[in-house]
Amino acid sequence: MAEQAETERVEPAASCCVAVSGPDISDRVAALAAASEKAVESLPDGQQRLVLVIENLECAGCVPKIEGALRDLPGLSEGRVNLTTRRLRLVWQDETTNLEALLRPVLALGYRLAPFQVGRMEARDAEERRFLLRCLAVAGFAAGNVMLLSVSVWSGLWGDMGPATRDLLHWVSALIALPAVAYAGRPFFRSAVSALSAGRLNMDVPISLAVVLAAAMSLFETMRGGQETYFDASVTLLFFLLIGRLLDRMMRGRARSAAENLMALKVDSALVVKPCGARERRAASSLKPGDVFQVAPGEHLPADGEVLEGRAALDVSAITGESLPQTVEPRSKVHAGTMNLDGSLLVRVTASGERTLLSEVLRLVETAEQGRARYVRLADRAARIYAPAVHLLALVTFALGLGLGLTWQVALMNAIAVLIVTCPCALGLAVPAVQVAAVGRLLRAGVLVKSGDALERLAQVDHLVFDKTGTLTLGRPVLLNGGEVASSDLQCAAALAAASRHPLATALVKAAGPVPLLQAEITEVPGAGLIAAAPDGELRLGSAAHVGVEDVDLGAESLLWLKHRDGRLVCFRFHDALRPDAAAVMTALKAQGLTLEILSGDRPAVVADVARRLGIETWQAGVNPAEKSARLQALTTAGHRVAMVGDGLNDAPALAAAYASISPAQASEASQVAADLLFQGEALAPVPEALTVGRKARRLVLQNFAIAIGYNLVAVPLAMAGEITPLLAAVFMSCSSLVVTANALRAARGGKSSKKREAAAIAVPAE
């Protein structure tokens, strides 16, 4: 059991509800409190509020745990977890409370927190959603009650209802419907007015016209004591369309909030060493050239700089795509975003802000993204044809009516009937419904979709470009010759390796399973290896130079040597393993008729090996970020619709330049911003799944357009001939809305196999 505990300490499971009580969390509490200072807001009533993202909030069981830990803290007036957004909201009295005292209990439970700055965009988004919900509630109330009255009127047509009763019911309907239209129609009226004042037509123009004209005409009819009013049609229309609008807004909000959580978690702090020797935790963004900071093993570098002191191996895969760690010494140049694996480093900042490699890449991303902004969503493209066509039809109806000798009232009524029956429910309701269903299905499969049009673009892709390190491969080494090495040697090496964070050492420990504790003093020589000093001699694990043998370059493989006390040498071979299902996924993608390609910053020998094993003919190695982006633009010019799959900082410009792009969830920040979709887990299966769902969603949207057109082919001639009664209009409208929505919901079906895959992805602990 003791051995088991030992391995668990080496690799703390990031799993749910595990209390990881670290040796001392004071440093983490202080760092978090310092980083949170900027995100604290003062409320009007004098209290302070802080919103934190909880990184490892996995299940509902965590909620009472966190809230329970916060329950009886003095000064805290609210500590509530939101499971939907995975955030914790703290509200406390300013004077009496110390922020560190509030953060400590949650950190002590083993949760990882990051401050979240509630941006202006976020606040406006929430306000907009509530406004739509209020409108929806009012429209729903009005639709229900007006329909109640309308059904009475319709049944009265065949019964014995007198004109006085009918007029009373009409007046009551008007009393409900007119304020409801004025209130709940605002989202559409606003958008229509802003479109018209910009000289454009959008979908909301015919919607607003239909709703307003129907209400106005019905009021006129009511005053005249007429038989036919459309109050029910105008409020039901609003009700259906508001549902669509709300679904659209909620989907965008959900994807955005998840993406923003990822952003907040990436915010780095730096341990700044002042000239006097004092150390201070500051936000990485506040670093200036000339500042000196210290990086402990396992930390990311917060800025570009030059090493002053120390020696360490750096994981540079996020910047260059190179899978082997790079050893740095004093005077070496280092870049923001790389990770320190073993030694402690003192680094002087040489560039910050605009001049870092990171901002260079972000500039490339920005230029590349301008191309994608030109994409027009399917619904908008349809609206461009639909809106003018509807207006033209209504006009023609009016003119024809006058030409055929009808009075202008009757002609106008026919024209309004045309506007009402052609109202674009299929576009306003069914497209968001398809997208919500598709995005929900992908979310269950571990794919996060950042925008609705990403799925539309993905559906048209015919060429896929992959990055290698971290995308096709796992981005971390795996022991190759575990079977050839004696298990006692492996155990011995693993016991030693447990003291290091170097990826090769971690891989060794993982391969060995439970290892015995080593009764010796272990020292780590940064950038070289480990030494265990025991009374009867020295045990060494590390690079060839560390154990005193000649180095050999084995291309894709990296080596670790173990030197026993008696001088016997054992060699461990590692390679960056492919994702478990990479080969199967590539075969499946090819079977779908897609062409595949690899663009990598790694060495040619390694890339060639991966390409051969996956059966991909086209590959390029040693490509820098600008070249990747250029290659994608060249492919686009050649007429391909290219999707890029990549994770590194070096992939970000290419991700932005691609027609659609996908990143693993552990990708660098820049890539996550640039990518349309993020997928979680070790498997690559979410990529073909996203492509399949994207295509299905596109097919369903087009089907819905066809249904809408079919329904209009029946309804419009009837309306033009003046044969549409309010009853017929209500039946048509509800039926078409229900049919397209039911069709849209099919996008969520058929994800059975993806659920199994998700289970498999969870079974393999993601790192």
């Binding site: 909620v63 809230e67 939907t84 957004t85 009650n145 009551v172």
Partner: protein, 51 residues
Amino acid sequence: MNALIYLIPAALLLGGLGLAAFLWALRSGQFDDLEGAKYRILQDDEDSEKR
């Protein structure tokens, strides 16, 4: 038909009550965490006494 005189106001009143209740729930933030709400009913917390 005289029944309509009070039946319509009664129907409107009941509907209006529902609408008011929904708007109140929306304002007090009960729709902010749709995911967590379904689990909260299963948790027996001493928290409720405090509020």
